[in-house]
């Protein structure tokens, strides 16, 4: 009995701490989305639902879209069909085959939000049942973006000039859809900056670069739905998303190969460990550390990907050695040997023919930050420092050891290591946040 009580208390404490761990930005977003949802549902419950058929049809489409989520590069998640469906519902003006000429100017923004919120929740239930992440943050972000569009556009549907000129309506819709996507990107960037310790400007740029092609397809599809519904009614709603479905299929394959690629490089980078050339987990730790430092220094996502690959494979040159270096710590071997390992590794990577920048990073990792030769690229300087740090500290979580290692690196900033990189490294190591990646 007491044991059970303790266990329950412990569990609730854990839950509490996980709430605490959630940063303020995310909490704010969830609170905003929650308030919108409550207000919208309360409103819809008091007044009668206007045009129930389109409401149900769009609800089903949004729920299905939420079910068919799409993983994007960089651990992002999108729900293009749900977003397009919700945007279209917010932008809907006429529906063919409805009584009363099908004008929908009296559908309030709150009704749109209520339908979207309920449908998204229903669509997320199967994910929850299957034990996948619920993706509350993404849903909240989508809902906020759709709400903004709905609040601006619903009142406009009462204005005759806009309703009777399709090109005017299309222009307004284009502006609104782009703003909606921007809002989604800003929220996504804020959350990522908070989560990963990236700079907001860089995170926003990355977010827009990844999202814009899909955003364009989603926006166009929302407008396709709006205009096609005027002639075809809502019976053909599934037909209207066919182009977007094709897009989603293509993106799924693209995102799939990207993640397989990364997994493969991660796995194969471990051959040096299995072969006894380096300590277990070294490549992975160096890559996590290097990426965290790179992010701290404001590197963009494509550069970070190159850095991650280079850091994972930085010791691959050791495979060409007949006998492993004792302990695998390259920081302890002579400079010509370090250079030889770097050259051999770079040659291996360059053979692939597609990773030239990665090969260059690996090649330059043995150069001192302030030597006679031209300064190595920042990625190489980061790998050099991260590698040295991990050779000295290893898997140990001992704080003193990490401080001592950082001290040693700092003493060498006149020649060996880049001072800025070492400062970022100590910042990152102090937070130990990179372990959360």
């Amino acid at each position: 009995m007491t044991g059970e009580a303790t266990a329950t208390a412990q569990r609730s404490a854990e839950r509490w701490s996980s709430w605490q761990a959630m940063d303020s930005g995310r909490l704010l977003l969830l609170a905003a989305a929650g308030m919108l949802t409550v207000a919208a549902i309360a409103h819809s419950a008091t007044v009668q639902v206007v045009a129930p058929h389109p409401a149900v049809a769009f609800g089903v489409l949004i729920a299905l879209g939420e079910l068919l989520r799409l993983a994007l590069p960089g651990g992002r998640e999108a729900a293009p069909i749900a977003t397009a469906g919700a945007m279209a519902y917010a932008l809907l003006m006429y529906v063919g085959q409805l009584p009363g000429h099908g004008r929908l100017d009296n559908v309030s923004p709150l009704q749109v939000i209520a339908v979207a919120a309920i449908a998204m929740t229903i669509g997320a239930l199967p994910h929850m049942a299957a034990g996948r992440p619920v993706g509350l943050t993404g849903m909240a972000s989508r809902l906020v973006a759709v709400s903004c569009v709905a609040f601006v556009f619903r009142p406009l549907t009462g204005i005759g000039v806009i309703v009777s000129h399709w090109w005017l309506a299309a222009a307004v819709m284009t502006v609104l859809v782009i703003s909606g996507c921007l809002i989604d990107a800003v929220i996504g960037a804020l959350i990522r900056a908070d989560d990963l310790g990236a700079r907001f400007g860089v995170a926003l740029w990355d977010e827009m670069r990844v999202q814009w092609p899909l955003g364009a397809a989603v926006g166009a599809s929302a407008m396709i739905i709006v205009f096609a519904a005027e002639t075809m009614g809502i019976a053909g709603l599934a037909v209207f998303v066919v182009p977007l479905l094709v897009t989603q299929l293509a993106f799924r394959r693209y995102a799939g190969i990207r993640s397989t690629y990364l997994q493969t490089v991660r796995a194969l980078a471990r051959v040096t460990e299995v072969g006894g050339y380096v300590e277990g987990g070294h490549s992975r730790r160096v890559s996590v550390l290097a990426v965290a430092v790179g992010r701290e220094l404001g590197m963009s996502e494509p550069d970070l990907l190159d850095l991650e690959y280079a850091a994972l494979m930085h010791d691959i040159g050791q495979l060409s050695l007949r006998d492993p270096i004792p302990g695998g710590a390259t920081v302890l071997v002579s400079r010509p040997d370090q250079q030889r390992i770097a050259e051999l590794g770079a040659d291996v990577i360059a053979k692939a023919g597609v990773l030239d920048r990665v090969a260059e990073l690996v090649r330059c990792q043995s150069l001192p930050a302030r030597g006679d030769s031209p300064q190595p690229p920042v990625g190489s300087r980061i790998i050099r420092a991260a590698n040295a740090f991990d050779d000295l500290v290893g898997a140990s979580a001992d704080r003193d050891r990490s401080v001592a290692a950082l001290e040693r690196l700092r003493l060498d900033t006149a020649y060996e290591y880049d001072a800025g990189v070492v400062e970022a490294l100590s910042e990152v190591a102090g937070r130990r946040r990179f372990s959360r990646l």
Binding site: Q97, T231, A235, V246, L249, A267, I316, K351
Partner: protein, 454 residues
């Protein structure tokens, strides 16, 4: 249709001429002067849409089932412009932007698409489908004629194409066996897609006019862009994997290129036994990675002369598990993992690491085992010269049923006869004596010598 007609025989020319004449004879006498200025503008836009969609198809499932929605433009024309317009939209494919098409192909494509469009338009009109801009009241009435029109389009299109393929085949030129990878269901799905898209364009046209084409093209262009990225990433992926596998092989002079050749051999067997394309891809990767675990075996064991002690033999027997340990995290490789882990099992159950027999051994592992042994026998080793292909085939036959799966050995031999085998560059004597394996664990003709302990 690309490359089906190829070098054109007289019979094929006659066929093409007949199709062109029928198309012109049917479409040219139609009355065009009845149409207003707007009709011609719409025709131009739809023709442009056809050419854009046709210019570079979106490969969705595989290279064989590229999705080029140009037929959607024709089907939209069936509703918007009627039979004559649909024929003219299809006929524009004479001016296809794909430069590699020859004159015969262009003429045939143009006539074929024109005829398909015209026939679809006729069927649509005959069933009372409303021609022109759709109004909401038309909608239930449009569905049935349009469905029939789409079906007529598909049948005419594939029928004419089938005739062309038959004729070019009848020339008696030896062709590679063309496996029709796109199954019927896939074909139907894509045809349904074209039809749906065509109707969607027609419906949008009522409200937004030619802007409908722009709206529909945006998602399709994004899809094409994503597929381009996919193809690029896939190329990069294969190249990177190959480079990393080569790096693993540098430890041993004589086995260089082994992974790549086993990958190729496994792929040949997979094709021969008709494996699904995605599984055939996976088995190529598995073949590439099958010996990656050898890195976990100490160099001095791999290069030992003379009999191995039991511990040393155990270390070698562990390499499939070591390999598994390395590649386990690669998500897509599920089935490939079993291939890597069991590639040294034998049909008679005397293999390692688990001593599985016959059907207990996963198919991937049985395939890799054949390719693996064959490459080992046809490569130079420090203790013998490479055997010829015939001799290696004899050895495979001898091991068939005891060491190898007989069906797969047969499949491999058939594939060998058809595609041939590129032998490794004869390995010259290595520069140093540090990277030489004296015994090869893959070689079925020279089993590892192990000291028997009592």
């Amino acid at each position: 249709m690309r490359g089906v007609v190829g070098r054109v025989s007289r019979a094929a020319w006659l066929y093409i001429a007949a199709v062109v004449i029928v198309a012109v004879a049917l479409i040219a006498p139609m009355r065009f002067d009845a149409h207003g200025y707007l009709w011609w503008v719409e025709l131009g836009v739809l023709q442009l849409l056809f050419l854009i969609c046709d210019s570079s198809p979106t490969p969705l499932a595989s290279r064989q089932s590229a999705w080029s929605p140009s037929s959607s433009a024709t089907l939209a024309a069936v509703v918007l412009l009627g039979p004559a317009g649909a024929g003219l939209v299809g006929g524009i494919s004479v001016f296809s932007l794909r430069r590699q098409l020859g004159l015969a192909e262009r003429l045939f494509n143009g006539a074929m698409y024109a005829l398909s469009g015209y026939a679809a338009g006729r069927a649509y009109a005959a069933l009372g489908g409303p021609v022109g801009k759709l109004v909401p009241d038309d909608v239930p009435a449009v569905i049935w004629p349009f469905a029939v029109a789409a079906a007529v389009h598909v049948v005419t299109n594939h029928g004419l194409l089938w005739g062309a393929i038959q004729l070019t085949r009848a020339e008696g030129r030896r062709r590679e066996r063309v496996r029709v990878e796109s199954s019927l269901s896939l074909l139907l799905a894509s045809d349904l897609g074209y039809a749906v898209l065509g109707l969607l364009i027609a419906a949008l046209w009522t409200v937004t006019g030619a802007f409908a084409a722009v709206l529909v093209l945006v998602p399709l262009f994004v899809a094409r862009w994503a597929m381009g990225q996919f193809a690029e990433q896939r190329r990069a992926y294969s190249a990177t994997m190959e480079a990393l596998c080569q790096a693993v092989e540098t430890k041993d002079f004589y086995t260089r290129g082994h992974s790549e050749r086993v990958s190729r051999g496994s792929g040949m067997i997979a094709r021969e036994i008709g494996m699904r394309p995605d599984r055939a891809d996976a088995i190529r990767y598995a073949g590439m990675l099958h010996d990656v675990g050898k890195l976990g075996v100490p160099t001095k064991v791999l290069q030992k002369e003379g009999a191995l002690s039991e511990e040393e033999y155990a270390a070698i027997q562990l390499h499939p598990m070591r390999g598994l340990e390395i590649v386990r995290e690669i998500g897509f490789l599920d089935e490939a993992l079993t291939g890597i882990m069991h590639h040294h099992e034998r049909i008679d159950g005397k293999g390692y690491p688990m001593g599985l027999a016959a059907d207990e051994i996963p198919e991937f592992a049985r395939v890799i085992a054949v390719a693996d042994a064959f490459d080992s026998m046809t490569s130079n080793r420090s203790y013998r010269r490479a055997r010829g292909i015939d001799q290696a085939v004899r050895e495979l036959r001898r091991g068939s049923g005891s060491q190898f799966d007989p069906a797969l050995v047969d499949a491999f031999i058939v594939a060998l006869q058809r595609e041939g085998w590129r032998l490794p560059e004869p390995a010259a004597a290595p520069l140093d004596h540090q990277t030489v394996t004296v015994q090869d664990h893959d070689d079925p003709t020279a089993p590892l010598r192990v000291v028997e302990s009592l």
